[in-house]
Symmetry: C2
Subunit: 232 residues, 2 copies
DNA sequence: TTCAAAATATGACCACCGTCATGTTTTGAA
DNA sequence: TTCAAAACATGACGGTGGTCATATTTTGAA
């Protein structure tokens, strides 16, 4: 509708019906009426790699439903170092923590590759809550799992040494987002270290025949041994 | 009723009405009917310092409502180092993340000092959800804030150096739980470092006239300067 | 009151890894 | 195709802070 998202390119939305199973999210999946409702209020946007979807400190105006592509939620600390808090793919809901906390975004959402998503204004979301109370329970469940994931990664990044974290990052990124090729910097920001340390660790892993590097492409050769390197 | 909590001492519950404003939680505060309902199903327990309220990996059977005392949620990693994820005082709800995620506890809840709480079985909580849908929204709001807090502390512990984290810990523990005196180990587990580093940092802070130490008692002398040490 | 266990305190050591510098390769836009 | 910018790669250096050892003080239960 009238809402202009900075840096994005508004595109003609496809109907929720056509959105397909792989981008089906927990809100739309809650009740067949919901996609119909959203069709009337949503706008669709396309983002290119590295474009910002929303900025830290801004106020949430609604929810984003990722249709295709990957989005990273990035938090930059005072000294300038960036950390990837969460990664979200098709079917994920973006911006819901801030919306339900009634807080400004505390991190910046950035497109990792080409992203297509639709945006639904807050008012419409609240309507859904009124008509479908079970949606709140589903979101509660989802948010509770996100909190566990955050606390687990937190502890891992505190206690594991850099090579263990890089091994863990490789396995995670491979398992969940295998279609993507990641830069050393992106791996570092996920693993909580520096690009230099990632490179040195990758070189070491290659020497030990755990992985194979050809350019930016990393292939895991010995998954079980890499797991043991990660202490998993 | 018949539920026996290991290590706890079941006591005769006081009525929710008498529980008082300082232990009023977001569920009880949602609707006047709720405390009445809980009165019929809750059991009350008392724990002494260092007693475990629930163990990591166990399944949640209900919710704990803290009436008095402090509880820490502690996660121990493979190598044995312990981290305090969250601290909860009177009015806080304990064990709700796991309950709503439908997961086992991923951390252990330990009484920091003498704790009195009441336990309400899951079935009763679900009944409340049915009768009062707005409770789910309140919990959603609370959980969303918890996730921000976790992610913020995560980033701080990654990026700040040890003395900054100790300064931040002192200020936080003072602000939120001033009645408690903390051991060096407890401060370390909150700040994400070791008791030795906490001691060295405290000695340094005392030399700089930021704090005063007499035994286990720490008094903040120069709060604003301590804040700048914490980079806040 | 006694006394062992826990907490506090401090010094010495050194490994990990972040930082900086330098050079090479790759990428992607003009 | 060209070329500058970004990413990759590797070496050298040094500081932070974890670990261990040891001694002292405090705590709390018998």
């Amino acid at each position: 509708m009238g809402i202009k998202k900075k840096g994005s390119c508004e595109i003609t939305p496809i109907s929720c019906e056509m959105c397909g199973a792989n981008s089906q999210n927990i809100i739309c999946a809650s009740h067949p009426n919901i996609p119909e409702t959203l069709d009337r209020s949503k706008i669709s946007c396309r983002y290119k790699r590295d474009q910002v979807i929303f900025y830290s400190d801004n106020d949430p105006l609604g929810l984003f439903f990722i249709q295709s592509g990957l989005v990273k939620l990035e938090k930059t600390s005072e000294d300038g170092s960036a950390h990837t808090l969460r990664l979200m793919g098709p079917g994920a809901i973006l911006g819901y923590r801030s919306l339900f906390a009634n807080e400004p975004y505390h991190a910046t959402a950035i497109a990792v590759d080409q992203v297509e998503l639709c945006f639904v204004p807050k008012s419409e979301i609240l309507l859904i809550f009124q008509n479908h109370p079970e949606v709140a329970l589903r979101l509660l469940n989802h948010l509770a799992k996100d909190l566990r994931l955050a606390e687990e990664r937190w502890i891992h990044q505190m206690d594991k040494d850099a090579s263990e974290r890089v091994a863990e990052a490789l396995l995670f990124l491979q398992d969940h987002f295998h279609s993507q090729t990641w830069t050393r910097r992106e791996i570092a920001e996920w693993a909580g270290t520096t690009p230099e340390t990632v490179m040195r660790t990758l070189a070491q892993f290659e020497k030990e025949a755990l992985i194979d590097q050809s350019g930016r492409q990393i292939t895991i050769i010995n998954k079980s041994l890499l797991k043991s390197k990660a202490n998993l």
